[in-house]
Symmetry: C2
Subunit: 132 residues, 2 copies
DNA sequence: GATAGGCCTTCCAGCGACTGGAAGGTCAAG
DNA sequence: CTTGACCTTCCAGTCGCTGGAAGGCCTATC
């Protein structure tokens, strides 16, 4: 299987797959002319990676998960620990965005949005709120 | 006012302030020996930038907002447009994270987390869910 | 056998928004 | 006059790709 075929199968762009090889996440073999040749096992690894990335795991977490994926003696506790840590990180990010959202939505709601210079959004960013 | 003083005032690290000068967001004057010298107006711009960045606006959006901040003939409609677009972007990001969260939380909840190899999280990443 | 065009390869550069660190100049205090 | 805290510039690295250039390979058609 060449790179564009496996790319179609796992939903990752060829460029990304080359990059994953560069950082050691996969090791496809090569044809005599130098083309990458992907086995079914390579395709499975890539599909696994694509799913893990879609869930927001970082590359290093993916590397650890991939090791566990192929470790027959793995401990589910270790997998769970990584996943739970990532879940906590997602929650942290959601909270951060929610706080941004609340502050920004408040400013937007107070702005009349007309063709005049007086603007509560600008005033808020300028720090006017702190004085009134 | 030198860089560390203004940094303390606006809550941005000196490195970031230098970077903001490099990309043209501020133009502090210089002392004869080459030190940056920040006016009150510079400090206000930096405080404005710090608040806009905390609300998640990108550098280019900050640039546009800063122009509007100092434009006495600005239109609140234009400010509102930028802010509303950013609000929509934040909502999009929150949705994305929520979807990740839901999928990941489901996997974590199904994992017993014991010292055994059978693990619904790994199975889910491997695509087992699709077959059952 | 020539040619076209669609694949493949490598390498280099750039994104956003900083951040770290090295090498060296300046300034105030003692 | 030295110390140490500040300041300067410049270069490299972060993360996870992504774009593009230059060139090789493979298949089909004429």
């Amino acid at each position: 299987m060449n790179i564009s075929q496996v790319a179609r199968q796992c939903g990752l762009p060829p460029k990304t797959i080359r990059y994953y090889e560069e950082i050691g996440l996969i090791r496809p073999s090569r044809t005599p002319s130098g083309y990458r040749s992907f086995s079914e096992a390579d395709a499975r690894r890539l599909a696994f990676l694509a799913r893990a990335r879609r869930l927001g795991f970082g590359i290093d977490e993916c590397r650890a998960l991939l090791d566990l994926y192929e470790d027959q003696r793995r401990s589910a506790a270790e997998v769970r620990r990584i996943a739970a840590a990532h879940l906590a990180e997602i929650d942290r990010r959601i909270d951060e965005l929610r706080q941004m959202r609340a502050a920004l939505a408040d400013l937007v709601a107070r702005c009349h949005g007309q063709d005049r210079p007086d603007c509560p959004i600008i005033d808020g960013l300028a720090g006017e709120a702190e004085r009134g």
